[in-house]
């Protein structure tokens, strides 16, 4: 019946490798100190999960797992880490409250794991005697376009709203360029919408209030007089670029 007698052994080995990849990635994602390694652990965990999806007769979901999680989610988290530069505190690791929290978290997660694993392995699951379809990609496509067409459209709407919301949320709340360490040599930095934010912060739009956040440019352009800089600030942005 089996033309290749070691196939089952090989498949079991690959399955165990996928399980080990999943577990190692999850542990790396949680226990590593630096967040960038944690994201790498999440990517490794998603690769293991894709392997398990393949063993669950769904190569389509295995591919989508790698495409969405590794290709989109992990890359987005890496971008957020680069933008937000989070620092993991290292001095608070040995304090008493921290160790108490760690032991409490370990106890809770161990209890969850043991109870769920016991429950899953002890229950007598009932297996179906016949299958409606084989779960192939063609069956998924037919079901997506017939039975699940409304959720399929709704999730595209949800993704659109999420993208727009993410853009709006990340756009607002930008600080003034004089408060950050953006280099502003030879005039103003090239940030969109800076003039509007200044007018809103200052409350007025006269020439005197325009000079208020320009503290940084005073040091970088010592030769310009007050009137010259005021005239420069009111000119279009292309004039203030270094030539």
């Amino acid at each position: 019946m089996n033309p290749f007698p070691a196939a089952n052994l090989l498949l079991t080995g690959i399955f165990l490798f996928c399980l080990a990849t999943l577990a190692a990635g999850a542990l790396l994602a949680v226990f590593s100190k630096r967040l960038i390694r944690s994201v790498c652990g999440l990517a490794v965990c998603c690769f293991g999960l894709a392997g398990l999806y393949y063993f669950l007769h769904s190569p389509f979901l295995a591919m989508m797992e790698i495409l969405v999680y590794v290709g989109a989610v992990c890359v987005t988290i890496v971008f957020a880490i680069m933008l937000a530069e989070p620092e993991e505190p290292s001095d608070a690791e040995t304090s008493g409250a921290s160790m108490m929290w760690a032991s409490a978290a370990l106890g809770v997660s161990l209890a969850v794991f043991c109870s769920l694993a016991w429950l899953g392995s002890q229950t007598k699951w009932t297996y179906p005697v016949r299958l409606d379809n084989d779960g192939s990609i063609a069956a998924i496509g037919i079901a997506l376009l017939t039975t699940y067409s409304l959720p399929f459209e709704l999730i595209s709407l949800a993704l659109l709203v999420a993208i727009l919301g993410a853009l709006v949320l990340a756009r607002t709340g930008r600080s003034l360029p004089s408060e950050t360490n953006i280099p502003v040599a030879n005039g103003e930095p090239k940030w969109p919408g800076t003039n509007g934010a200044r007018r809103r912060v200052d409350g007025t739009s006269s020439d005197e209030s325009l000079e208020l956040p320009d503290v940084v440019t005073t040091a970088s352009a010592p030769h310009g007089s007050h009137a010259h800089r005021a005239a420069k600030a009111s000119q279009p942005r292309e004039e203030s670029q270094p030539v």
């Binding site: 089952n8 079991t12 165990l16 399980l19 999943l22 577990a23 999850a26 542990l27 994602a29 949680v30 967040l35 944690s38 994201v39 965990c45 999960l49 063993f55 669950l56 007769h57 769904s58 979901l61 969405v68 999680y69 989610v73 987005t76 988290i77 933008l83 937000a84 989070p86 505190p89 929290w101 978290a105 809770v108 997660s109 161990l110 969850v112 794991f113 769920l116 694993a117 899953g120 392995s121 699951w125 009932t126 297996y127 179906p128 409606d132 379809n133 779960g135 998924i140 997506l144 999730i155 949800a158 993208i163 993410a166 853009l167 949320l169 990340a170 607002t172 709340g173 930008r174 600080s175």
Partner: protein, 110 residues
């Protein structure tokens, strides 16, 4: 399907134990992590645990083999949307507080 006891990758309980492990690790990270991005990564692990559970039950106990796959596909789409929103929130929080530590976001505390 009942009469094949041996093969390791055809056993439902192993997948359930793996999913329980993912859930436990995710809960541990959610409690233990101090930064918002670390919490988000742990949340992704919990999402993966739920997806693996659904896929395992779909493979072994469902009549219609496409239901679980489509459900997991929707979970992936919603998780991607959630990650986009959460990361833009984290960036906005970082702009206001210059930090993403969860303990410092206590402006409403009396």
């Amino acid at each position: 399907m009942n009469e094949t006891p041996a093969l390791l990758f055809n056993r439902l309980d192993l997948y359930l134990i793996a999913a329980a492990f993912l859930l436990a690790v995710g809960i541990y990270g959610l409690i233990r992590r101090r930064t918002l991005i670390g919490m988000l990564i742990s949340g992704e692990l919990i999402f993966s645990a739920a997806s693996l559970n659904l896929m395992a039950f779909n493979r072994f106990t469902a009549h219609d083999q496409t239901v679980g796959q489509i459900f997991v596909l929707f979970i992936m789409g919603l998780a991607a949307a959630e990650v986009a929103i959460a990361l833009s929130l984290i960036i906005a929080v970082y702009r206001n507080y210059q930090s993403v530590r969860a303990a410092e976001l206590s402006e409403l505390k009396g």
